[in-house]
């Protein structure tokens, strides 16, 4: 079977595999870092022990998830060179500096303050500890900003010139390189997605424990907070997603047409294809179920607005429609399901039954992992939709890879699959076990608290503990 796969396909499979695995962790740690910041702020402000307990409860989970994010992210920073060396040579002068800034402004910030955040409460006191939490949360957001800037440049490249070696080089100002046409939409959509993902994890965990013990104060608090997020942020996300789609239609029309399955142009308004099996070979959607004019209404906000079709574009510029068509539907479907949960929780809250309606809790448990699925589906949509290019319209994926033999890439892909499933599989098991424990009054410290010799613990550390017990 391997004989039929070439080095490019294998390299793509490897990148898709490693980046998908990696993306799961930041999608969670961006949200959870901000959540921890909010919890600690509320604890400092109100002095209520329930916030401190929840902080410690989620900190342990954060530590495990963050560790996996770090090591899987380290792999990504070398994937560009190992498997996509031609892309790296050509695009390096433009996107390399952005990634270097990500390391300088985000990774060091996160890593530098993470130790204090995890292990330092008894050493630095409450205020400095809160500062460390804020720095870690800020680091995750800065990191997202830079890497989305890089990705957006690959999708909607601007501000570059081509030099004699065929490299993309900055044409002058860095402003147009960083703030490309799709950047603001992609950034907002992605960060909100991370927040929603976290809200549904927290909500699912809270609901799980409410089903067992409705009186648990920690479970009630986290469920309530998560449902506020769902109710407020899910509609915002749908609105932002719509704007992002319109932006994509403007700058990458073939991607949107593949997402919609629109092969033929629709001069009188495009239908919305609900289901079907798109086939690039036959240039049509098989078993199509569609609603007339709804496609144009969504994409143009006018039911009779004309839309082009994929057949208006050269055949060698079509993304694989059968993938993006479905990944897009998975993402959107889950987005609306999240909205549904949010509205349901508002109704429950209004009736004063937020902690009583067990079907809402069951549904929230079921939706716990929904954010991860939606984030990955969205990522697949935008990245597969970028094909067959690495730098959209300018550099083909088939011309971007390293001069490596297929067996080398296949062997390393196999190694990644084995290692990731064993290491991150175990990690997921530990995460689920941590989540299955109910939040209790005295959450223990995170693992491996390094302590100084007895007698020299600073007084500030001692002062921190009574509030926790309260």
């Amino acid at each position: 079977m391997l004989g039929q796969l070439d080095a490019v396909t294998l390299a793509r499979a490897q990148f898709a595999f490693t980046v998908s695995f990696h993306f799961i962790f930041p999608a969670f740690s961006i949200g959870i870092a901000s959540y921890l910041m909010v919890l600690e702020a509320l604890w400092l402000k109100t002095g209520q022990g329930v916030y401190a307990n929840l902080y410690r409860y989620w900190l342990k989970i954060f530590a495990v998830a963050f560790g996996m994010g770090v090591v899987s992210g380290l792999v990504m920073s070398y994937q560009f060179g190992t498997n996509w060396s031609v892309f790296s040579t050509k695009a390096g002068p433009v996107i390399g500096p952005l990634m270097a800034y990500e390391v300088l402004t985000a990774f060091f910030l996160e890593a530098g303050f993470l130790g204090v955040m995890l292990f330092g409460m008894s050493k630095v006191g409450k205020e400095l500890h809160f500062f460390a939490t804020c720095m870690v949360a800020l680091g995750t957001l800065i990191s997202a900003t830079w890497i989305i800037a890089v990705n957006s440049w690959m999708q909607t490249p601007a501000g570059f010139a081509l030099n004699a070696k065929g490299q993309f080089v900055p044409a002058g100002s860095w402003w147009p390189i960083i703030f490309t046409a799709s950047f603001p939409f992609r950034l907002v959509h992605t960060v909100i997605a991370a927040y929603l993902t976290t809200a549904f994890v927290v909500g699912g965990v809270g609901a799980w424990h409410l089903l067992k013990d409705r009186a648990n104060p920690g479970a009630r608090k986290m469920f309530s907070m998560a449902m506020w997020m769902a109710a407020i942020v899910a509609p915002i996300q749908i609105f932002v997603g719509d704007a992002h789609g319109l932006n994509t239609l403007e700058h990458q029309p073939a991607k949107v047409l593949a997402m919609e399955g629109d092969y033929q142009p629709s001069p009188d308004g495009a239908p919305l294809i609900l289901f079907g099996l798109p086939s690039n070979e036959e240039a049509r959607v098989r078993y199509e179920v569609s609603i007339p004019h709804l496609g144009s209404l969504i994409l143009k906000h006018d039911p009779f607005a004309p839309l082009p079709g994929l057949t208006d574009f050269p055949r060698d510029q079509w993304p694989p429609a059968h993938i993006v068509f479905w990944s897009f539907r998975v993402m959107v479907g889950l987005g609306f399901a999240m909205l549904g949960i949010g509205l349901w929780s508002l109704l429950a809250r209004y009736r004063g039954k937020l902690y009583e309606w067990s079907w809402l809790h069951r549904a929230s448990v079921a939706m716990g992992p929904a954010g991860f699925v939606a984030v990955l589906a969205g990522w697949v949509t935008t990245e597969v939709g970028r094909q067959p290019f690495t730098v959209y319209g300018l550099l083909r994926t088939a011309e971007s890879h390293s001069p490596l033999a297929a067996p080398a890439v296949a062997a390393s892909l196999l190694a990644f699959v084995l290692v990731y499933f064993s290491a991150f599989g175990a990690g997921t098991y530990y995460l689920l076990r941590l989540m299955s424990k109910p939040p209790e009054r005295g959450e223990s410290e995170p693992p491996g608290v390094p302590q100084r010799a007895a007698g020299i613990t600073p007084a500030s550390g001692v002062a921190a503990s009574p509030a926790v017990k309260g």
Binding site: A63, T89, T105, F107, V116, F119, V169, L404, P446
Partner: protein, 336 residues
């Protein structure tokens, strides 16, 4: 403009060199602790060793991302030649780092799994160190480049010399780990670390001597760089300083000093690093691509430089603060 570009390139070469050195200084000892881990007794000794690096390992490893990311940004050509040329090594290093990185948290999660994650921690550290060392040898012995791209096979890096550098780095990191533990632990852990440091000190010096003796025979360029007059007056200072540092190291070890052995081990690494710089400069890929040929355009380098000059001192400041917060001996109290 050309002049400015050349200067920037040297500045960036220095920054990348600094990042790599910072990585070796900081991650070297925590990889070394991983390498030495099986020699420590299960229980307090291992927990203490782990606790001494748990709050800082993540920051340490970020310098590796900085080295890779900085190379990508400032010298994209070198990045895209060296990585495919050492492909299996890079993959092995990354996978090793995955295993050891997750072990920090995982080993505390389930006591019955702890032994498994301790093995993962140790094996991952060993593989990562070995791969880094072999990569160093592969770069020194030369990489086959045609038309600005790697043109060799996927096992070109394998040679007796690269295996020698691989083992040397493993031994050297283990020395850093042992001397770090002399500083950060007490009791039986410290006694054990002292014993290991003595043996590893001897082994590191032998390795350093072997690599130094073999390098000039790889290429006449290296030979001339080290032994031709008048340069030899300067280059001879390196082995002289190595002798002074080694003597101080053994003296401090015997006197049971707690910090000096670690500092001297670092000094040995620094001197080895300077030696490598003397051999390689001005090449990024020895005898194939100079730093100027590999450099990104001045616009890219200057854009990054503005940030780097402000941010790197800040990073060093808060990293220093984090180390200061966790100063003193590491406790045995893991957790719960």
């Amino acid at each position: 403009m050309l002049m400015a570009g050349m200067d920037l390139t040297i500045v960036w070469a220095a920054i990348i060199g600094f990042a790599i050195m910072a990585y070796v200084v900081m991650d070297g000892f925590d990889l070394g602790i991983g390498i030495l881990f099986p020699t420590f007794a299960v229980g307090d000794e291992r927990d203490q060793a782990m606790n001494s690096i748990a709050p800082v390992w993540d920051g340490n490893e970020t310098w590796l991302v900085m080295g890779g990311g900085g190379l990508f940004a400032a010298f994209p050509l070198a990045y895209s030649i060296v990585l495919p040329a050492t492909y299996p090594l890079m993959i092995a290093m990354l996978l090793g780092l995955v295993f050891r990185g997750v072990a920090f948290e995982f080993r505390w999660r389930e006591p019955s799994h702890r032994q498994l994650w301790d093995i993962a921690f140790s094996l991952g550290s060993f593989v990562a160190a070995l791969a880094q060392g072999i990569t160093l040898g592969a770069i020194l012995q030369g990489i086959h480049v045609e038309n600005d791209a790697y043109a060799g096979g996927w096992l070109d890096w394998l040679s007796p010399f690269s295996l020698l550098t691989g083992v040397s780095v493993v031994v050297g990191y283990a020395l850093l780990g042992a001397t770090w533990l002399i500083w950060k632990t007490e009791g039986s852990s410290q006694r054990h670390a002292r014993k290991m440091a003595l043996r590893l000190g001897v082994a590191t010096l032998l390795a350093l001597a072997a690599v130094s003796a073999a390098t000039p025979f790889l290429s006449y360029d290296y030979w001339r760089r080290w032994f031709a007059m008048p340069g030899v007056v300067l280059t001879a200072q390196v082995p002289l300083l190595v002798i002074i540092c080694s003597a101080t190291f053994f003296w401090a070890l015997r006197r049971e000093f707690e910090r000096v052995p670690f500092l001297m081990a670092l000094a040995l690494f620094l001197l080895g690093f300077v030696g490598l710089g003397i051999s390689i400069y001005p090449y990024m890929v020895p005898r194939a691509v100079t730093i100027w040929e590999a450099a990104a355009p001045p616009e890219s380098q200057s854009f990054m430089l503005a940030g780097a000059l402000v941010i790197i001192p800040l990073i060093l400041a808060y990293t220093g603060w984090a180390y200061w917060v966790f100063r003193g001996k590491a406790g045995i109290h893991g957790y719960h």
